[in-house]
Structure formats: structure tokens, C-alpha cells
Symmetry: C2
Subunit: 226 residues, 2 copies
């Protein structure tokens, strides 16, 4: 009887649906080198944006905007800003690590038909937002939740996404003409792909290794093994 | 022929899998009031943590840790820190908005069998991390991607999650004994639920409204309607 009550409350999502969900989640990649120039149909893009817009947000403030960048001149200016930052970044690595860094393809700004900048309005919802009173960065974090929803929904639509963070935020702010209260949280390259890699590209390129999950888990406080 | 080639590249995720994915994504809620005390089986929790650990991270740095808080005394101390912050927060709202705020249930710290703090190690990956050279906050953003993966995977497992942000980070740092380089990004209440609400609780409570997606979309730069 207890088991029945428990079941009726918990079986909302079936094992089959769960398996399908995990197939999307584990199939998501940060795409840089496999983009195709194929246009994304409007209804597909709308599905992805709708999913992003239904991310959780602090006090339901929905602090995000979506700037869809297709203009070639605009993308070339942003690409130039990437190149400038990337050259600076390479100099921060030493020896073999530098040449390895320089061999990696780290963006697809001009390879995709669409770039998307997801921004955060630091003033959305007014001066006092429920849940933001003691952690002011919650609006930025909410925007990242929208980015992750966007990313996963894109994968569900068989579309690849790459997050370009090697770029000065001030430069993005200038080129996208963002007002003072608007922070560019994520600059995304979005497009169909020739393939989704089996593992993260930086793992395949032996840049970094997957950490062991068990080593990242503590009980009740920092450092106490469960 | 072209269509065939295109299809073979794009049909990885079928419409059925996509529909199942969206069912999880749109069924996710920020849960506060519907928690049950039922224990979460270890294998289910492992599924959720595994999904979080496979979030994207800057330079594959995987800057997250997961502190599983079950100890009652520890949770009571954290609950007290919430109450203190929440009383302060209520004073920031005026008139009817204040009494409305005070009527809302905003956490389930003691109602669930498990709380999880997801942290960010600002030093993970060493002094120079690929992709973090020009945007230092990328490790925090990566950790939020792990939070959103955790949240969605929990929903897929029919488990509710509520993010408690009405608490001083300094207090969390003290109670969880976090080292200086560790930031508590998300404090989550995690448990089975009596129901998942049809819409966000703050929308049902008429605290905030869903914004129109179309009004949040711009083309090529800020403010230009597409």
C-alpha cells in the first residue's frame, strides 16, 4: 500500500523518458571544429530559445536577452576581438603547452550561420529581487542556467554549440552596443555539425583528463569523505 | 542527394527522444513546499551527480565539488542562517509586497533528506586555464552549468530541487568549513515531492509574470528588433 502511494507520486517520468533525456545530456559537446554552414530553420531556433527562456531564474526575474548575430561584418569584428585575445592567451602558456594551445581550434564564429550572445540585465526585476538580496550574483547565475538549457535543447535539435570565452567583455560590450546594466554572459557559436565527438574535444586532444567523480564528493562539510 | 547527406548527419536524436527531453526540461521546478522525507537511493543520487559532473567546464577544468549534507545539526545551523537572512530580506520590501513575501515558503532545508552544496574551486586547473584567461568568472559559470545539469537530471529521476540563495555566503563558508579558494555557488534542497507544480510557484502565487520571449530577442546588436 505504501509502495503504491509512493509509486503514484514518483513515476511521472518513466525509465524510457529518462534514458532519452540522458542521451541528450551526455551527447552534448562544446563544438569548435565540426560546424556546417547549413541554415537553422526558424521553428528549430524558436524551440531552443523557448527552452532557454524556461530556465530557472532568481525571483522569476528572467534577466536574460538573446542577441542573434548573423551579420557578417559584425561577426568579423567579433572574430578579430577573439584573435587578439587568443594571441594574448597563448603567451600565458609555457613551452610545449603553448604550442599545444596554438594547435587547438577554439571557436567557430565565422563557420556557423548564427552566433548568439546571451546577456544578463543586472536591473531586471527592479532594485529588490526575491532571492537576490543576499547573493547579488544570482541574476548572472540564472542567465547561465538559461545558457545550459539552450545548449542541451540545441543538442536535442541536433545542433552544436560552442561557448567562446577568449574575448574581452569590454570589446563585446562595445561591438554589441550593450547598455551599462547589461553583462554579456555567453557568446555562443550555433550550427549543425558533421558529427558530435564521442568525448569532449579537450579530453580527446589530451589537454585535460576527466576527474573521478568520487573524489569530488564530501559529506556534511568540506574535506570529509563520505 | 544533398538532402540525404544532410539527414544522415542530423538525425542522431529522433523526434521521440527530443519530445522526452523537453518533457523533463519543462517539468523542472524550483521546489519549496512539496518535499517528502523519503530517502533517495544511492544509485539514483549517483545518476544525478554523474550528470552534473558531465556539464561543460572552461578548459575542461571541472571546478566543482559536491558536499552532501544529511547531518541534522548541520542543517539546523544552515536553516538558522536562512531565517536570519530571510528576516533581513523581508524588510527590503514595502507594504503589501512585504506581507506577500513573508507568506511565501522559500526553502525546504529541513524537509528533505538531503541538501547539496555545489562549490567552485577558483584554483582548479592551475593559474592559467584555457578559456579563463580573459573571463575569470568562467569557472563560476561552469559550476552553474553543473547545477543546471543536476537540477534537470533530478527532475528526470522524479526528484525535486530548490535553490536557496537567501543566505549569507560568508555564513555558508564558515559552516561548511570551505577553504579560501572555494566559493559556495548553489545550496540545494533535494528530495522526492508530492507533486511538481504545473507552473513556477512564483508565477502561480502572482509574484511575477512570465515575460514574452519575443521581447527578449534582438538582432546583431542590443535594441535592434529582429
Amino acid at each position: 500500500m505504501d509502495q503504491d502511494i509512493k509509486s503514484s507520486k514518483h513515476i511521472d517520468i518513466s525509465q524510457e523518458i529518462r534514458d532519452d533525456f540522458y542521451q541528450v545530456l551526455y551527447g552534448r559537446r562544446d563544438v569548435r571544429g565540426q560546424f556546417l554552414p547549413d541554415e537553422i530553420p526558424d521553428e528549430v531556433l524558436t524551440n531552443i530559445l523557448h527552452a532557454a527562456h524556461h530556465a530557472p531564474s532568481v525571483g522569476l526575474s528572467q534577466p536574460w536577452n538573446f542577441i542573434l548575430i548573423r551579420d557578417n561584418e559584425q561577426r568579423k569584428r567579433i572574430y578579430d576581438a577573439f584573435v587578439e585575445a587568443n594571441d594574448e592567451a597563448a603567451q600565458m602558456f609555457e613551452g610545449g603547452r603553448r604550442s599545444h594551445y596554438q594547435s587547438l581550434k577554439l571557436q567557430g564564429i565565422l563557420d556557423t550561420p548564427l552566433n548568439v550572445c546571451i546577456t544578463c540585465d543586472r536591473e531586471r526585476g527592479g532594485p529588490v529581487v526575491l532571492g537576490k538580496t543576499h547573493q547579488a550574483e544570482m541574476d548572472l547565475y540564472s542567465t547561465v542556467c538559461a545558457v545550459q538549457n539552450f545548449w542541451l535543447a540545441a543538442r536535442a535539435e541536433n545542433i552544436g554549440v560552442g561557448w567562446v570565452s577568449i574575448i574581452q567583455k569590454e570589446k563585446l560590450t562595445e561591438l554589441l552596443e550593450l547598455p551599462e546594466n547589461i553583462v554579456p554572459v555567453a557568446y555562443l557559436c550555433v550550427g549543425y555539425v558533421s558529427e558530435f565527438l564521442k568525448k569532449p574535444e579537450l579530453e580527446l586532444a589530451q589537454w585535460e583528463k576527466r576527474l573521478q567523480l568520487e573524489e569530488l564528493i564530501y559529506a556534511d562539510k568540506w574535506g570529509r569523505k563520505k
